[in-house]
Symmetry: C2
Subunit: 157 residues, 2 copies
């Protein structure tokens, strides 16, 4: 890895350290495009009272604002810990090219984070998961899908 | 299902229809606690230029603001479509009790959304996924985990 890449990862790590000092979760992430730093963020779940405010989700939101797009193709993410399933899926939706990660989900489990449990749940059939998912009112729900499908000039994402 | 529950689902569906009319994705969701509606939101990916702004993530963020907590234990979510993996994981992090969903991820695939692809990717070993995940600087990254682990009186989430 290049010195530039180490610098980006060090910022992600530094954000994770700063977050612990501020009373937040030990996670930080940086997004880079064409060798240029676009945005950085720590986890802010407890500070922002928002369970979705993981470092990767936060930094994706920031980078999208900076670049004025919801498509981060061509970007790389440097994250102090392997993304949880929420963040990994967010990385897919954002179309980020590469993930560099420091700690692993196994490390995260050792200090009390549920990443591995949620990975297992997502890989389980919906009928067998711990959180019950109940199908309801399909006939009325499908109408908006039909409208979307027929719509011309829609902004796909 | 009760008439009350149908009313909550109809709001989620109504948000999904309104979203299509406004040029957004066909998804809406409502969060309920103790039979009381807490918050509702549509998908706003294109309007907010934010790939994480799915209906469920949006409504979780709103409900947490309303209830001033990152823990939505005791809440139910009514969503016009089965959650994608990002939203499902967000529901786990938020500790929501039950999911009621209208359309399925199979319906979503038919109109061009990648939910099933991302489900498959998340269930795949990290070494074999389409987005490369490269381990990097573990020794420096683990320090914030050690700090978190040793910290007393931390706010767990």
């Amino acid at each position: 890895m290049s010195e530039e890449q180490k610098k980006f990862m060090r910022e992600a790590i530094s954000l994770s350290l700063e977050s612990v000092n501020l009373g937040g979760g030990p996670f930080g992430a940086v997004i880079v495009k064409d060798g240029k730093r676009i945005a950085g963020s720590a986890n802010s779940v407890t500070r922002d009272v928002d369970p979705t405010a993981h470092a990767e989700v936060n930094v994706i939101r920031k980078a999208c604002k900076v670049l004025d797009t919801f498509d981060l193709s061509g970007c790389e993410i440097y994250t102090s810990c392997e993304p949880c399933p929420m963040c990994l899926a967010a990385i897919y939706w954002a179309r980020i090219d590469v993930i560099y990660y420091g700690n692993t989900k196994e490390d995260a489990r050792k200090i009390g984070f549920d990443d591995q449990f949620i990975y297992d749940e997502i890989a389980t059939d919906r009928e067998k998961r711990k959180i019950m998912a109940i199908p309801f009112m399909h006939e009325e729900s499908i109408v908006s899908f039909e409208m979307w499908d027929k719509k011309e000039n829609k902004i796909k994402y």
